[in-house]
Symmetry: C2
Subunit: 138 residues, 2 copies
DNA sequence: TTATGTGCAAAACATTTGCAGGAGT
DNA sequence: ACTCCTGCAAATGTTTTGCACATAA
């Protein structure tokens, strides 16, 4: 983990980062908490929030401000887009090439200093489609 | 307001929709509450939430699942993209042409039934840039 | 008249924060 | 030692919900 001089390498931080790196599922803070708690049963939810936030600020992870009620976190920091299931809420990566040039267009069309963009697709994932079919059969 | 047969046209609903239609600022539920309360002082915040949600489901307004802590609402339902100020949190429309074709690409690249997409730019608005400059002068 | 909607207050969530004790450097 | 960090619990902020009364149709 990249640390600023005064940022300490604690067990909690290592394990949070390790666990987040193990999955590709963009877990919420609470899901990270559950994952980490299996290895560090006494960790507090506040610590998980504090460290995810800190790592996101430092840039070693991504905080996804996607739809839904909870923020999600991603150990993959290379720019990429997401697709979210409107039924179960899960978020997957989608391999659409990143359009880095549209930031300039956005800057021309607004009076903002444009720093980035994100595309979020929405739809129904295959798991949820299958559930729907099964329900129709019953 | 378009209503389903059993959906009643109440004063509260009319005024919420009217007030939302007056602004282009993508207000939060609480901001809508404040706007509406000037005309209907006894309206409850729960009523505002319930009706904004209902109108969003009916499709007569848009519920924006943008970054930040609060959902925002938009009386303009034609597809369009947004830009959000990372400093003050405000959300503006941005006149970048809608790429309706990328939904197909997304469907090909995922195992989702793709229903839509949204692009959110982020940056610093001109108001906040000015504040920064003023602060540097002090 | 009667089902739907409202105001109010409480509950439910997600997230943040204060603080005393703990641990990395 | 001296900070920074953690666990815990309480606080905060947003959204939802239960319920008795009100009102549109």
């Amino acid at each position: 983990m990249q640390l600023t001089p005064q940022m300490r390498l604690t067990t909690q931080r290592q394990i949070i980062l390790e666990e987040l790196g193990k999955v590709t599922s963009h877990p919420t803070a609470n899901e990270v908490y559950d994952m980490v708690r299996k290895r560090l049963p006494r960790i507090g939810l506040g610590t998980v929030y504090r460290n995810l936030e800190l790592m996101a600020e430092t840039g070693i992870i991504l905080k996804l401000e996607v739809g839904g009620t909870q923020k999600r976190f991603d150990a993959t920091i290379e720019p990429h887009y997401h697709i979210r299931c409107l039924s179960c809420g899960k978020v997957d990566d989608i391999a659409i090439p990143v359009m880095s040039d549209i930031n300039k267009t956005a800057a021309d069309l607004s009076n903002y200093q444009v720093l980035g963009h994100h595309i979020e697709f929405s739809g129904i994932c295959s798991d949820c489609s299958n559930v729907e079919e099964e329900q129709l059969l019953n």
